[in-house]
């Protein structure tokens, strides 16, 4: 059951985010029946499923909301923005109940919400609906009493087959209650040629000895009681069937064509008298033994009856033609296996190359082909649309703009773009922060916007799209833009720059992402421009991504995020530096040149000129290990580094390489030069460079050397 509770939990989360989305849409169109219906259905689902999985308070609470939306649906209550806001709060509350259904504090809040709903319902024209607390259905505890004998008539209507009912099953169900004498009445059966095979002409009269009560018996007929004639009477309070000969006497009477309840009742009374006499004679022990025997026979028949079912249990063949929900843990281990497979495959290719066997080469190429497909599919399974977090942003925009007295519209494009789920979940916070900044500092209040000939409602434009193996996300606003003068002033005050430094706009905007920078004159509790942008930058860098800001005063600001599609495999260049192998991620590589060792050696200030272009560079063989620096064959790989192009000197260039990233754990924490390591086909290890950090580190080191 716990597993299903988890399923429900996940589903309820989905429903709640759907609720939020629907309410946001509904806010623009109170009349939209389809959307109102949707809210009703969500509440209904939460109510029904919640109760199934033991979230009783959640279920009761959503029942109230369901009632509310039922009224709105039938136009007795008019939807307004207040109710929508209220419903959103309720959604948040449901989300809390989902975490802890029995929390006393939460229940208090629940009551407040209920009162509110009640008032809404009261104020509406309806008299009928007041919220009714669910009454516990188990009012009666079935008393374990001795057997009684019931007289039952079951005369189904002719059309009973039409709704799929099989009356025989109901008779069978009665027989299961105890011991029964069943009489089939076929008096109404027409002549053979007049029979309509789709109609039911039969009825039954049953004498049933059971320890169940009358309600249990009428429950058997619960689906058919309205269109059928059903009589249930107690023939005797005593266990008549236990009496010798009683069954045959009653049977005889029952099958007498002209019998009725009265005749049977008379017979029963006579038998009852006999029973009380025998009661004295037969010791109680023996009687109960008799009963035991009875039970066992019933049970053994039951066993036989259910035999096919038992076989089914041992060999169940549930067919599932549905989408499969898989736990992300399983996906993760699948991805790990795929990564292992890719590594093993790389080893196979290496062996095939050295062995020069034609057969082996063909086989290994086929295997490579399959592995790639397999890998692509496996990785694709981990991709989820970015839409999943956009809903959160919509809510944020709505709540925040309201509280700041601004009008803001979020336009999201490309939300179907898919990204690795790990990246998506790590992206949520930084993007929230960027949007918060845009609303708080970017978008002006309506009056100001009007004065500046802008539409009163500001727009935040969210755009996600693929670009090669990366995804690019733009978050643009049409707000006030960034005042570069202010930024410079602040940077000066914080000693981030020197007086007289000549900075490009780009460099100025980059200042915003330095730790501790803030230009906001009024520090709000929502955000301070700059406060946190350093954190945003760090988080994006952690995902091997990049951030850049562009802005034009009076027009707006745009933040661009560039992210890899997945974190666990990197397309890279396999190179050697002092005969150790390294991977340089292809995403940052601009171009590759071959250079003369002399040219590197004779360069001044680590800048060389290639084909007329000046490149600053890092001489990796020297930097990594000065003592054994090798100057065999030098290659010059230019990589992009914060909108600049910087060269990296390596020894050999081996090939392009798909690196499966292995965590290097504790090594990584203190050595940020590498994003991870990968195991090559021959079992050797190659580190995967984080080119930005490598350049950061060694160019700072260079400065230190100079000082």
């Amino acid at each position: 059951m716990e597993d299903f509770r988890k399923l429900f939990y996940d589903e309820a989360r989905d429903l709640l985010s759907k609720l939020e989305e629907t309410l946001l849409l509904l806010e623009d169109n109170f009349e939209n029946k389809e959307l109102i219906n949707e809210v009703f259905r969500i509440m209904h689902s939460l109510k029904g499923s919640g109760a199934m999985f033991g979230f009783l308070n959640l279920s009761k609470f959503t029942h109230n909301l369901e009632t509310l939306y039922d009224e709105i649906r039938s136009d007795t209550i008019t939807l307004n923005s207040e109710i929508i806001t209220f419903t959103m709060q309720c959604g948040d509350h449901v989300s809390k109940l989902l975490e802890n259904d029995d929390d006393d504090e939460l229940l208090k809040v629940t009551d407040d919400f209920k009162t509110y709903i009640n008032n809404l319902l009261k104020n509406s024209d309806t008299i009928s609906h007041q919220l009714v607390e669910d009454k516990s259905k188990h009012s009666e505890i079935p008393t374990k009493s001795g057997n009684k004998v019931f007289y039952i008539e079951f005369d189904p209507c002719e059309d009973i087959f039409n709704d799929g009912t099989n009356p025989l099953y109901l008779v069978d169900e009665l027989i299961d209650f105890g011991e029964a004498i069943v009489k089939l009445n076929y008096n109404n059966l027409p002549d053979f040629y007049d029979i309509n095979p789709e109609k039911c002409y039969l009825s039954w009269t049953i004498l049933l000895s059971t320890n169940k009560d009358k309600r249990d018996i009428s429950d058997v007929f619960i689906f058919v009681e309205d269109e059928s004639n059903i009589v249930i009477e107690v023939l005797s309070d005593k266990d008549l069937f236990s009496l010798k000969n009683s069954v045959s006497i009653l049977k005889h009477e029952l099958f007498n064509n002209h019998t009725n309840f009265i005749n049977l009742k008379t017979e029963a009374i006579t038998l009852e008298e006999q029973l009380s006499e025998t009661d004295i004679i037969i010791p109680i022990d023996q009687k109960s033994e008799d009963k035991e025997e009875n039970k066992t026979t019933v049970e053994s028949t039951k066993k036989e009856l259910t035999k096919p079912d038992n076989q089914a249990v041992t060999n169940p063949q549930p067919i599932n033609i549905d989408t499969v929900k898989v736990s992300s843990l399983k996906l993760d281990s699948l991805i790990n296996l795929v990564s292992e497979l890719v590594t093993t495959q790389a080893r196979l290719i290496t062996i095939a190359h050295t062995n020069k066997s034609n057969e082996l080469s063909v086989l290994s190429e086929d295997f490579q082909h399959l592995t790639r497909q397999f890998r692509d599919i496996a990785f694709d399974m981990r991709l989820i649309p970015i839409e999943t977090i956009v809903v959160k942003f919509k809510r944020l925009v709505r709540d925040l703009s309201k509280s700041l007295g601004k009008k803001v519209n979020l336009v999201a494009v490309g939300t179907e773009t898919e990204l690795d789920k790990n990246i998506i979940s790590a992206l949520s916070d930084p993007i929230m922060h960027i949007i918060r900044n845009a609303i708080d500092h970017g978008i002006e209040i309506p009056e100001t916007r009007k004065k500046n000939n802008k539409p009163e409602t500001g727009t935040i434009y969210f755009d996600a799209k693929y670009s090669g193996t990366s995804i690019i996300i733009h978050i643009k606003d049409d707000g006030a833009g960034i005042n570069t003068a202010k930024v410079l002033k602040k940077a000066l005050a914080n000693d981030l720059i020197q007086l007289g430094d000549d900075l490009t706009n780009e460099q100025i905007f980059n200042l915003l992402m330095l730790p501790g920078f803030s230009t906001s004159e009024v520090v709000t509790n929502i955000s301070g421009r700059g406060v946190g942008m350093d954190v945003v930058r760090k988080k994006i860098l952690d995902l091997h991504g990049e951030v850049s800001i562009t802005s034009e005063e009076g027009i707006g600001t745009s933040v661009k995020l560039k992210l890899p599609l997945t974190l666990s495999i990197i397309d890279g260049l396999l190179v050697t530096i002092n005969s150790e192998s390294f991977i340089i991620p292809l995403s940052s590589v601009v171009q590759i040149y071959q250079v003369n060792e002399k040219k590197i050696r004779n360069s001044v200030n680590n800048i060389i000129d290639i084909e007329g272009v000046q490149f600053p560079f890092v001489n990796l063989p020297k930097k990594f290990d000065n003592s054994s620096a090798s100057n065999q064959v030098l290659h010059f790989i230019t990589v992009s580094y914060h909108n600049k192009t910087v060269g990296l000197v390596v020894n050999e260039l081996i090939s392009e390489y798909q690196a499966v990233l292995k965590p290097i754990g504790s090594i990584q924490q203190n050595n940020e030069l590498f994003a991870g390591a990968t195991i090559l086909g021959d079992g050797k290890i190659a580190f995967v460079m984080d080119t930005n950090k490598v350049i950061d580190f060694y160019s700072n080191q260079k400065n230190e050397e100079h000082e």
Binding site: T343, K662, P663, S666, I667, N671, L673, I679, I685
Partner: protein, 151 residues
Amino acid sequence: MNNKESIINSYLSFKLGNETYAAHVSKILKILQLSEVTKVPNAPSNMKGVINHHGNVLPVIDLNQTLGLPETIRTNNTCIIILSVEQGNNIINIGAIVDEVLNVENVNDEQISDPPSLGANTLDHIVGVTKKDDTFIMILDIDNIFKELKI
């Protein structure tokens, strides 16, 4: 010392320089021949690099240097012992280079005396000393060594 360790009284003894040290067997996962270690640029001097151990990338440190002793001189006897180290709530595996692996010794708790309280740096990591055939064996607290150490 926790219960598990006191139930099993086995210690792996090894040489660091001229001295004999030991670590509780529960901390030892494997002993490997010294193989090729991939160097890590910009690493601390005691961090010798990484090795591929069953598809995982494992850091390798020089235990001599880690304890403030001179760097291990590599001979045919030089070994890597793979240690299971508790760091906070994590358990990580670290390869440690030692001069020579000696033996598995059974030492009862009574046979372990407190470490000498001299001011030397190394002694912080020693939980006790025992004597075997005229040789002093210093028992290392593996978790403690790597608690402060950044690899």
